[in-house]
């Protein structure tokens, strides 16, 4: 099967070039000014951009166990609509993905129903209880790309050291959700002016920072690869900068919401502004944007965290933490940061493709001859309105509902097959 994408701006080495692209037998076969081959299918991109399919190394697909929020079919359809072709599933399912059988379940479901490639992240500790090391080496032989207790954080430093040493033994990256439980307490939003004003309990930046400091030291001692999920404060970034300057294999990601929103969004008690880590101050947000620009941050990850309406439609301090992210990630960042010239388009695209691939050594992330044809075609001149009706995720918990942003995903293509097409 041959497909030619015509009338397109192809993203090559950080630049958009008016070329045509040939997909042959699932792979990118040719990129040229004009392609004369006969094709089974021609996609007229209408002048839109062709980017490498996006890669999300931090997503909650809720399958098995919480399929009223999301399942592998709906979650990957949602991801494809957002321009993704590969996502990594966090293990806080029910039961927790802490063994080879659970890993294989997700892989099988994804193979059957997945609109995107799904790579599995296994639990760091059994049942993610922070008490015993999981069978991570067995899970690695089954294909996991990292271990994490995301959503939870190992509080016991001795166990964490042991986990890191064991992970280093088998060369498995460890992803941490940095949160000191005692410091976070019953916090609902970031400690700061908005917490003072609303009376909502605050989660200080320190709750994140002390664990990052601890785990950098422990990982250094253990010789482990450490990846810090959803970094959110200026001080945390400083800790990562120091670790990198010392040459440690420490990486970090930031979410779209921490790049464009602050705790001011919580003033009206909208539970779709409640997530962990919480939205921080403007100075923390600016530090994240700056760190994205100067390359300190290794990639953007959505932390796609679906929750049903009836779960979020509650008193603020009774609602669960988290928002969905696949379908809004590129659009909201393009609209709020690229169009306003805060970051370059290439910074956004690379942090959604090439760079996350590098963090967890995943396939894809670049458009070049010979690689699997994982692509997304996005019209930067069109616009998208996020409504409850057109969101493909089962859950609609996003603070950007009913907002219109610049850009529109027209097609997503995985291995040469169209997995999403704008209607």
């Amino acid at each position: 099967m041959k497909t030619i994408i015509k009338n397109a701006l192809i993203y090559l080495d950080g630049k958009l070039e008016r070329k045509e692209l040939l997909i042959d037998n699932k792979r990118i076969a040719q990129i040229a000014d004009t392609i004369f081959d006969k094709a089974d299918q021609i996609i007229d991109a209408g002048g839109a951009c062709v980017f490498p399919g996006f890669i999300d190394i931090h997503a909650h697909l809720r399958d098995p166990g919480q399929t009223h929020k999301e399942d592998i079919k709906s979650g990957t359809q949602s991801a494809a609509k957002g321009g993704y072709t590969l996502v990594c599933a966090m293990p806080n399912t029910d039961p927790v993905t802490d063994n080879i059988a659970s890993v294989e379940y997700i892989q099988l479901r994804a193979k059957e129903y997945g609109s995107v490639r799904v790579y599995v992240i296994g639990a760091l500790t059994k049942h993610s209880l922070g008490e015993e090391i999981s069978e991570m080496a067995t899970m690695k032989s089954g294909g996991i790309v990292a271990v994490s207790d995301d959503g939870k954080c190992v509080q016991n430093a001795r166990l964490m050291l042991s986990c890191l040493r064991y992970a280093a033994n088998f060369d498995i990256p460890v992803i941490i959700h940095p949160e000191d439980y005692a410091l976070a307490g019953k916090g609902q939003i970031s400690a700061g002016k908005v917490a003072t004003r609303t009376g909502l309990s605050g989660i200080p930046g320190l709750a994140e920072e002390v664990i990052i400091a601890r785990d950098i030291m422990l990982a250094e001692s253990a010789g482990a690869k450490l990846h810090i999920a959803h970094i959110s404060t200026a001080r945390s970034l400083q800790l990562v900068r120091e670790a990198k300057e010392r040459g440690l294999p420490v990486t970090c990601e930031v979410t779209p919401h921490h790049l464009v929103l602050t705790d001011e969004a919580c003033l009206n008690f909208d539970t779709n502004t409640k997530m962990k880590p919480p939205l921080r101050s403007e100075s923390d947000r600016l530090a994240c944007v700056q760190a994205l620009n100067d390359g300190l941050i290794d990639c953007i990850a959505t932390d796609h965290a679906p929750h049903a309406d009836f779960e979020k439609e509650r008193e603020f301090d009774h609602a669960p933490f988290g928002i969905i992210g696949f379908e809004t990630a590129f659009g909201i960042l393009y609209d709020r940061l690229v169009k306003t010239k805060v970051i370059e388009l290439s910074t956004l695209v690379d942090n959604l493709s090439k760079k996350p691939a590098k963090v967890l050594n995943l396939p894809g992330g670049e458009i070049k001859i010979g690689v699997k044809a994982d692509l997304t075609i996005i019209d930067l001149n069109a616009s998208t309105t996020y409504t409850k009706e057109n969101i493909l995720s089962k859950s609609k918990n996003t603070p950007w509902i009913d907002q219109t942003i610049a850009s529109k995903v027209m097609y997503t293509i995985k291995s040469g097959i169209i997995t999403y097409k704008d209607q």
């Binding site: 400690a191 700061g192 002016k193 917490a195 003072t196 004003r197 609303t198 009376g199 909502l200 605050g202 009206n268 008690f269 009836f310 439609e313 509650r314 008193e315 603020f316 301090d317 009774h318």
Partner: protein, 310 residues
């Protein structure tokens, strides 16, 4: 322009202008006159139904709201979480849908979750008076405090008000800071650092003092706050005795304030902890009057919101 109150919510005082607040104070004065009559009832809200929705227990505040509604001849229904579906897991949304189906015209809610009055309005479409939502706001308490000062001093402009105690956990302080600032009072908050929220100066434009003598200096009004035993187990201060040594309102410490400084407390009091009886029962104390004014303020709000006359 005359302030408009019909159908308005009272989530907190930031939605109310100086003129609005002064108008409420005048209306409260009229209501207080009714409360001093032998026959304490007017027919204004006959046929209206007011619901007190108390998800957090508070006998005193609920009684004050219900008495206010009764004196205006409204029908009153009372929903308490301890005896109701909310403890069996029914959501606030379903509870409000159920109550709304019974034809409620105004809700008075007390809830330990900040922002819950906004939810009740969202689900019901009816006006809501916030009777205290977590640590967020307690606008009717602030209005009764402001009324109590206004009645004695005539004007709050330039008055020095000092509020002492557990500022961190106090919704009363938060609403008072907003309301009093609108009337020109200069408010100082005082308490141990562990019980002081961050950024108070920039959020509320108040002064923060950790030393009681400095906080009380030259004060026209002094308000004590209840110091709760639980804060000790939360690791926020070591003992009631040590707290008292540094922050109690006594004849000794009040020497720093003006000799005629008004003494206030939103209740319930811990005598001997945050305030000594000599002060609580002293000649400048208006603590008991605050309670009476609370009924009048709530009558005024219900009247203004539901009568459609203002």
């Amino acid at each position: 322009m005359k302030p408009q109150f019909s159908g308005r919510n009272v989530f907190d005082l930031d939605d109310y202008s100086r003129e609005d607040i002064l108008y409420i104070l005048e209306a409260t004065k009229s209501m207080k006159e009714i409360n001093l009559r032998e026959y304490k009832k007017i027919p204004t809200l006959k046929g209206k139904t007011i619901c007190t929705l108390f998800v957090e227990n508070s006998t005193r505040t609920r009684m004050s709201f219900e008495l206010a509604a009764n004196r205006l001849s409204a029908d009153v229904v009372s929903f308490q979480a301890s005896v109701s579906a909310l403890q069996k897991g029914e959501s606030l949304q379903d509870t409000v849908y159920t109550l709304n189906a019974m034809g409620i015209d105004l809700y008075c809610i007390r809830h330990n979750s900040p922002g819950s009055p906004q939810l009740v309005h969202k689900y019901s479409g009816k006006p809501v008076i916030n009777g205290g939502d977590g640590r967020h706001a307690h606008p009717t308490q602030a209005l009764l405090d402001i009324y109590s000062i206004w009645e004695k001093k005539g004007d709050l402009d330039g008055l020095k008000v000092t509020i002492v105690g557990d500022i961190l956990n106090s919704r009363v302080v938060r609403s008072n800071l907003i309301g009093m600032a609108k009337l020109g009072a200069k408010v100082t908050v005082c308490g141990p650092k562990t019980l002081m929220p961050g950024s108070m100066e920039s959020v509320y434009g108040c002064r923060v003092e950790y030393d009681l003598a400095r906080a009380l200096h030259d004060a026209d009004v002094v308000m004590g706050l209840r110091m709760q035993f639980e804060r000790m187990t939360e690791g926020l201060f070591p003992s009631l005795e040590e707290y008292s040594k540094h922050y109690v309102l006594s004849s000794q410490t009040l020497k720093y304030a003006k000799p005629d400084a008004l003494i206030m407390h939103p209740g319930p009091m811990n005598r001997g902890v945050e305030i000594l009886p000599e002060i609580a029962d002293g000649e400048h104390s208006i603590i008991v009057e605050q309670v009476a004014n609370g009924v009048a303020v709530r009558m005024a709000l219900m009247f203004l919101i539901l009568s459609g006359k203002a």
